[in-house]
């Protein structure tokens, strides 16, 4: 695999070269925290961050997004007929995405890219994007990526992986897309950096001190987990807000809404959350998940069991720790997974 050396002093100039062919997105710091946004001309990404407060999922899955548009004018021959709207799917480069978040997009892709249906909005943005990852040298106390099938130097879902070497980056070029971007930026100084990257990777992985325990989940009986007596206690504190789901890089649920003003209207989608009662409320008023215990259970069962069973690709969590840090009442997925895993263990022993 090709490794290219990028002097930090050359980074801004290289990114500027990209602007001709790419829209650039990167982490930017507001008053208190980092978030991904489009970089204006001359604006450099701020790569001095542990991770962004919200996940970068909005880059391919905006929180509110127009799907279709229509006229409601009765005299318009096209009236009341929903049509696709023009969208900008020109190439984009996402600079500085963390490996956990890139891995998360590959999990979400399983939902939006299926044999039966393809979600054009998500896929067009995803396919238009070249992901330049930034390896994690100093993972945080709530990072547990290494036990989720991801890692601080994980390459899945990335086109280039940048490894910080103080005065320069070593860039591992992982795909043709990545290669194209490096060429466009004029980064071409080959380096023999494999050993340095491996060394940094080993150190970073060792710096991750917490874990999520999931080994008994795949084999566990879903109904035994569902009916286990752990959920009342887990869910007691939950206030059923959408913080965990909205900050999560792997949560993809959404709502579809029509909004019309005058004779024009759009059909849009907005992020939705399994924590909200309205998510599953029938028109009759019947709600299959009518209590917060059921809703809390749904979130964890989906991430740690249903997804595991459906795709056989591990859990629907990349260990970024955002939900742990941001939950107003400190519900911790690591703790919940351990409790679920115990149920799985107990069942194993019973057999």
């Amino acid at each position: 695999m090709k490794v290219i050396k990028i002097e930090k002093s050359d980074l801004a100039a290289g990114l500027d070269k990209l602007r001709g062919g790419y829209r650039l997105f990167g982490p930017v710091k507001d008053k208190t925290s980092h978030g991904f946004q489009e970089l204006a001309a001359g604006q450099a990404p701020d790569l001095a961050f542990q991770n962004t407060r919200l996940s970068p999922k909005n880059l391919v899955f905006p929180q509110s997004e127009t799907l279709l548009a229509y006229s409601l004018d009765g005299n318009d021959p096209e009236g009341h007929i929903a049509r696709e709207v023009d969208k900008d799917y020109s190439p984009r480069a996402v600079i500085g995405i963390r490996p956990c978040d890139a891995k998360a997009l590959t999990l979400v892709k399983m939902n939006f890219d299926t044999d039966a249906f393809k979600d054009p909005y998500w896929l067009n943005l995803y396919n238009a994007s070249t992901f330049v990852g930034l390896a994690c040298d100093a993972p945080g106390g709530t990072c547990f990526c290494t036990t989720t099938g991801s890692g601080p130097f994980h390459e899945e879902g990335l086109d280039v992986l940048l490894v910080d070497q103080h005065d320069h980056f070593l860039a591992k070029v992982l795909t043709d897309k990545g290669e194209k971007l490096m060429t466009a930026a004029g980064f071409n100084q080959s380096a023999d950096g494999d050993a340095a990257v491996e060394k940094a990777k080993t150190a970073a992985e060792a710096a991750i001190t917490t874990a999520i325990v999931t080994d008994s989940l795949a084999a566990a009986d879903p109904m035994a987990l569902y009916n286990a007596d752990i959920w009342e206690d887990i869910a007691f504190a939950c206030i059923n807000c959408g913080t965990c789901t909205f900050s999560c890089p792997t949560c993809w649920c959404f709502d579809i809404q029509d909004e019309a003003q005058g004779n024009k209207g759009v059909r849009m989608r907005n992020w939705d959350s399994c924590m909200f009662p309205l998510f599953t409320m029938h028109t009759t008023g019947h709600n299959p998940r009518d209590t917060k215990v059921k809703r809390t259970r749904q979130r964890f069962m989906h991430k740690l069991k249903y997804f595991v069973d459906k795709y056989n690709a591990g859990i629907m969590c990349v260990g970024c720790g955002r939900c742990v840090r941001q939950c107003p009442v400190n519900i911790d997925i690591r703790k919940v997974s351990a409790l679920m895993n115990n149920v799985g263990d107990a069942a194993k022993c019973a057999v």
């Binding site: 229509y70 007929i81 929903a82 696709e84 939705d272 599953t280 299959p288 059921k294 249903y306 459906k310």
Partner: protein, 281 residues
């Protein structure tokens, strides 16, 4: 890339008031682009999203049958925002239909078998589609005995009355119509809830017999033990589930029961499958 969120434009061709309380209307749609009809090729048991610009979408079972050409039909109960708006629309109005969506009754598996259909209330729509499909001269020989038990609260609430009466007279299908109660002295069919009528009229179950059950939750609950007594195994009892839906294509996440999505992996499940999932519907 084909856009699964884009509805086919349709025109309302006819509206039939089905029930005496006017809460149920059948809408007949024709596609504005005749080629869309082929793209919309469906099987009995599937549903579609009825799509009204500026209002929203609603998932409704397809009441017309694949053997009926030139139109599609949906019977809609007036309940929420979209269905109320639809009930106020007129013949000639333009809207959209997105689909077909979901799976269908397992017609390949049902070939050569006895089929019992148990329906209640306005959940008879995809069952009508199924009956028309099975009774089609090209298909009737594929199935053994066909038995239908269908009930509603009153005679005035029965869907598709003309067809029911016609089927009742035929000898290639056994139709048992029932109502919860009636003060009509001329009522010549059954009176009683669907589960006991099923117990009296339905044939015994065996390896060659399947039951398709569709109706309100309370009916399903009390029909299940009846079918068990009659000898229908759980993997021979076929249900069609409902849940709140938005996308209809398995992406928006809300209709999940366990790992299954009602909109894409369903709505049709066997009772044996449903037993393996949380009852979150």
């Amino acid at each position: 890339m084909e856009n699964p969120y884009l509805p086919y434009p349709v025109r309302i061709d006819d509206i039939i008031v089905e029930s005496e309380d006017r809460s149920l209307k059948t809408f007949k749609f024709v596609f504005l682009d005749p080629d869309d009809e082929a793209r919309f090729a469906y099987k009995a048991g599937q549903f579609a999203e009825l799509s009204i610009a500026g209002v929203g979408e609603i998932p409704i079972g397809i009441a017309s049958s694949p053997v009926e050409k030139g139109f599609i039909k949906f019977t809609v109960n007036k309940a929420g925002v979209v269905t109320t708006h639809l009930h106020n629309m007129k013949v000639g109005d333009i809207m959209g239909v997105r689909g077909p969506l979901g799976n269908w009754y397992p017609w390949e598996m049902l070939e050569g078998k006895n089929v019992l259909i148990v329906g209640g209330g306005f959940a008879f729509t995809t069952l009508r589609s199924s009956i028309i499909y099975m009774l089609d001269p090209a298909n009737r020989s594929k199935f053994k005995d066909i038995t239908v038990v269908y009930g509603a609260r009153t005679p005035g609430m029965l869907l598709y009355k003309d067809e029911l009466i016609e089927w009742e007279k035929r000898d290639d299908i056994n139709v048992h119509i029932t109502v919860d109660g009636t003060d009509d002295p001329d009522w010549k069919y059954n009176v009683g809830f669907v589960p006991p009528i099923t117990e009296q009229k339905a044939p015994q179950g065996d390896a060659d017999s399947y039951a398709i059950v569709c109706g309100p939750p309370i009916m399903i609950k009390f029909t299940q033990p009846v079918l068990e007594t009659l000898g229908y195994d759980h993997d021979h009892i076929i249900l069609s589930l409902e849940n709140r839906m938005k996308c209809g294509i398995g992406m928006c996440g809300r209709c999940g029961i366990g790992r299954e999505l009602v909109c894409k992996d369903g709505p049709v499940f066997t009772l044996a499958e449903v037993n393996q999932t949380p009852r979150e519907y």
